[in-house]
Amino acid sequence: MGSHSPSRRRQFLTGGVGLAGLVMAGVRSLRGQTAAPPQAAPKDLLAYGQPSPFDNTIRRAPGAGTALADTALMTPLQDLDGIITPSGLHFLMDHVKGIPDLDPKQHRLLLHGMVDRPLEFTLDELKRLPAVSRIHFLECNANSRPLRGANGESVQLIHGRTSCSEWTGVLLSVLLKECGVKKEASWIVAEGNENNKYTMSIPLPKAMDDTLVAYAQNGEPVRPHQGYPLRLVVPGWEAIRSVKWLTRIDVVDRPYMAWHESGNNADTRPDGKGLWFRFQLGPKSVITRPSGGQRLPGHGFCEITGLAWTGGGAVRKVEISTDGGRTYKEAELQQPVLRYAHTRFRFPWRWNGEEAVLQSRCTDERGEVQPTILEAAKNLGVAPEYFYDADHFNGIQPWRVTRDGLIQNALF
């Protein structure tokens, strides 16, 4: 669905391996990396399989048409099926001004602070420990701001700061138990090994619960832009907590109020109060097909599908309205429905050519219900416009179907 211009990525790739390599080298030097990239045999197009040249599924930046722009790239939710986001299409928010090329042989994870035995692990040692594979979504806390993108119209640019992968690694609790956490400890401070030495505080109960030190994503090493060779995955929490290029865990007794958790990722309410440390994401869902910017090919049957997820655990139900929220009917949830994972929903629909407003509503296992923007505004005591630039917005996304089949954002 939707018409695409020819992919720039494909144009590069049809130029051959040499040109692709040149492009990559150019990107590296533009990022200002001083470390030499690892000496690996060049992977040609067959050695690492590529999508069909007819396919144009790429990440996009708001306001820019190319995937080569850095800093913020959104997952093309409207083009994807199932619940797994291909690693190369995982959303990317660059908080650290450049993606480091880390040599896995040199990389170390140090755990210290309020522990009986500080320990330092190599990647090989971590891979010898008992591993788990878990399917979890990550979502940027700034996802779903209502007017994102040139026209605020596409699901990719508004909601594409979420992706879902199978992560493999060691539970952080295993490593912390090896170190022996002292009684008075209550938080951890996690640090990444890049330009900013990006830092986040996480409460110890979550660190000991299901937080994962991941070295693999969808069966292969974590991609560089996702934290190669090691990243934290904090299930169900705002993705700013899932520290990439993870190199240090300091066990402490208070949050450290690092820049990215206090000065840079806090919101202000109209009464001046600051909102911070809002760990858990709310229940959310969005119809990905049909969605903003697309056009229905004609009258008749058209399955509605989309994704739902929640920081509250598992999605319990998704309801669909085709009349702008006046009535709702339950959608079918595609199995498996996993905790802290994207959940695919489907709903049979027949378009009769009349105007319609399609929207989905998620209820999670704790009974929390995704609000409309008006309900969300009432809850927080703000005007709906507050959410134009706020974080953690999980309001219902309505899409209007016009009489000529165009899909538009109907939030405002």
Binding site: G32, K97, L110, H112, R117, P118, L119, E120, F121, R128, L129, E178, C179, G180, V189, N195, N196, K197, T199, P203, P205, K206, R248, D250, V252, R254, Y256, M257, A258, W259, S262, G263, N264, A266, D267, T268, G272, K273, G274, L275, W276, F277, R278, F279, Q280, G282, G311, G312, R366, E368, P371, A377, N379, L380, Y386, F387, A390, D391, H392, N394
Partner: protein, 207 residues
Amino acid sequence: MDSFRTRCSKRRVRLRTASVARRKPPYVLLAAALAILASVTALAQGPTYQLGRSPSSEEIKARDIAISPDGKELPPGRGTAVEGAAIYTQKCAACHGPNATGSALHRGLVPLGNAKPVKIGFSLVPYATTVWDFINRAMPQTRPGSLTPDEVYAVTAYVLYRNDVIKETDVLDATSLPKVRMPNRNNFLPVQPEWNAKAKRPFGYYP
């Protein structure tokens, strides 16, 4: 044939080892055994899996750069906004602008922090230690971690002075920095201290 040769060479090795053992006095063996034991302990410290290495306290200290709000980890050093202004011009102004108001690609430092969606007109950042910590670990962007503690104290003082938080001549050091009162300190909702897996999200934290 091959296996026979292997067996022979194995036996030769065993014999040689045995003869060495016979000739050396017992304390040498004891020392060797202790050395091996010590290296094994140093290499494998985790109680369950016997993996990981025990880093020395110097190694930890070299990497332990995070500063908490009470500033107990702050290193010795000092600086004022007057000194910081010179360093700012030299190492910071290229990105943050001559008046710390930012440029198209880089954020301004007045007001400090990213107050959104409601602008508050003054610095959002709740603790002065946060400013010190971030300058120390991440600035300048071209050579992060290259500033000396004195320089970090001075540039922090300059940034806080530009935000009307301290006076131009106030000296910042390990004692005075954590005592700086940031204007927004008490305007945050409390951090959820006891997160637990079953608790509902508290009202007012979320849309």
